[in-house]
């Protein structure tokens, strides 16, 4: 059978489905972040309203609650909070590291690319003229280059997570209701964090927290409470109908001929489908996807232990590292494609190579962590925090 060490299944209560889908989401985020990429056609955003970001944030909330919830129950609020904040700090450092790479790329383009056709677009590089302000604003998470919005969202969500987690442990339904109320107010009152030089955060934390808290709520017993609903045939039918509907609507974005089948009133009601504020249609689409997935992929699905799925699972188990690697690889791929004016073949090759690099790195990290924990001075420490949860 499989020669490689199977995905860490040591913790018996570990739900490998989370790792699997987070791993897949990381691959999709990587592919989606390369603008000129034929492989983008395979990513789920072309087949429905929600995309890999929803999966990533939901599972992150789930694992965060799963791991830090246990710490908070067993060891108290203070220690759990300290661990959560340490995690937020790691994410922050990772974000700044990615920002540095981005700056290097921009500076290179600014120095080498000079086409009068794009005199206006090149103005985006003007921030290089005031590095003092730009770098400072980046440190404040206000200046965020394109495609570098997910980590800042995640950082902010973790920063406020300790009290939320406490409430989730004491009164989960109250916490979830509170989260929904904040979401509603974000829509009603246009709450969002401000960005530099202008505007607001691309992923509005006041809106996206709903998905994170919902994930956490599911991890702390909510999923069990929902099990009856989730396994009812009626819900399954509704979910599938909605997914098919969303699929058809996304098709009309690509093929204008289909557009006339969408009645005007529906468009008026439906559009715009707002990603910044996590449109209800997107949230519902994610719920439908999750319901269908849970129905067809049981927790003890044998394939979860098979070598075919372990590449995705192992990536999902080291999500921070692999996420950062993915963003970096997306920058690098874009660069290679731009430098060589590459065609579909190159794009496909680069996409495959990028995913292979992610898998290899995840394995390397697994191997290293295995050695560390099995070593002579094995730290009993939180294996979970590094696997299921540290990777929250």
């Amino acid at each position: 059978m499989s020669k490689a060490s199977p995905p860490q299944s040591a913790a018996s209560d570990r739900d490998l489905r989370l790792d699997l889908f987070r791993g897949l989401a990381l691959w999709l985020i990587f592919l989606d972040h390369i603008p000129e990429n034929i492989a983008n056609w395979f990513t789920i955003r072309n087949y429905g309203f929600s995309d890999a970001t929803e999966i990533f944030i939901f599972i992150s909330g789930y694992t965060a609650a799963f791991v830090y919830g246990r710490t908070m129950r067993d060891r108290g609020f203070v220690l759990a909070s300290a661990r959560i904040l340490r995690r937020a700090w790691q994410l922050y450092v990772a974000h700044i590291f990615l920002f540095t790479i981005f700056m290097a790329e921009i500076a290179y383009v600014a120095a080498t690319f000079d086409n009068p056709l794009y005199a206006e677009e090149m103005k985006i590089l003007d921030f290089l003229k005031q590095p003092d302000i730009t770098i400072f604003q980046a440190l404040l998470l206000k200046f965020k280059p394109v495609n570098m919005d997910v980590l800042p969202l995640y950082i902010v969500l973790l920063l406020v997570f300790p009290p939320v987690l406490l409430l989730l442990l004491r009164a989960p339904n109250v916490a979830l209701a509170g989260s929904a109320i904040v979401y509603a107010f974000a829509w009603k009152l246009d709450w969002n964090l401000s960005a530099y030089p202008n505007g607001v955060w691309f992923f509005n934390p006041f809106a996206w927290q709903l998905l994170f808290v919902f994930g956490a709520w599911c991890a702390l017993g909510g999923a069990g409470r929902l099990a009856g609903v989730l396994h009812s045939r009626g819900i399954l039918v509704v979910a599938i109908v909605y997914l098919v509907f969303a699929f058809f609507i996304t098709l009309t974005w690509r093929f204008e001929d289909l557009d006339r089948f969408v009645p005007g009133w529906l468009k008026d009601w439906m559009y715009p489908i707002d990603k910044t504020n996590l449109d209800v249609l997107r949230f519902a689409h994610f719920l439908a996807l999750a319901a269908v997935t849970v129905h067809f992929v049981p927790r003890d699905w044998p394939a979860l232990k098979s070598p075919i799925l372990w590449p995705a699972i192992v990536c999902g188990q080291h999500s921070l590292e692999i996420f950062c690697l993915g963003v970096f690889l997306a920058f690098a791929s874009q660069f290679v494609i731009a430098e060589s004016s590459g065609g579909p073949l190159l794009q496909t090759g680069i996409s495959v190579l990028g995913i292979l690099a992610m898998i290899a790195t995840a394995n390397l990290i697994s191997w290293y962590k295995g050695i560390e924990t099995r070593g002579p001075v094995a730290r009993v420490k939180s294996r979970d925090a590094d696997l299921a949860g540290g990777e929250a």
Binding site: N115, L117, Y118, A119, M122, G199, E256, P272, F331, A338
Partner: protein, 251 residues
Amino acid sequence: MTPILAVLATIAFVGNAVAAESVPNCEVPDRLLPAENDLARVSKEIADHHRLDISVVGSRSSALPGPDGARFAYPTQLELALRERLPGNEIKVTAHIPQGQTTAEMAQSLPKILADDHPVLVIWQAGTVDALRGVETEDFRNSLDQGLDAIAAAGADAVMMNMQYSPRTESMLGIAPFAEVMRWIAEQRGVVLFDRLAIMHYWSDEGTFDLYAATSGYAMARRVHECIGRALASQIINAARLDAAKQQTTR
């Protein structure tokens, strides 16, 4: 000027001259020049008065830098293309290209432009500055609505033009949400959208232009503008139902 520079300049000059003579093959498929939303005011003006006054309102990507930039930029190229394709009609294109104005600022200045020019058609190029400045898409949407209201109130037709396809700045400049808003508004209001983004993307895919090229020469930029001018003329002619056959029957 050093001798080497002089030689280079000569080569560039000759290159330009050759380029200007050969008409670049930059056909655009019909699907990228949709004509469902019509330009009724334009058709009427051509039919009744055989003339067409167009105002172009846009930002720097509606112009070209350098000497004679205006002559080679797409507004003038549009004028030439329309004159060529609508003989016997008086065509005038006036360009208003204020530096670095957002759509909100342009919407503010539209009433004055409308009052000064009395255009039958306004071509409104928008979005790039807003993306550069990180304007909120909601505000962008409102500004477009406001400006389009003003144009409609002045009795003119409107064509919106979105951003350029710029692969080298794609990862730095987030134009997609703004392009989305423009597509949405075009559909909702029934306004013609000149999808510059998709058209230039098509040229890039087809190998018509190497938009990744790090050239500081003007030759390619001028050819691109010439092609934009001609594609824009085609879309206007399609949307205003001014094709040759129809023209003859109305005369």
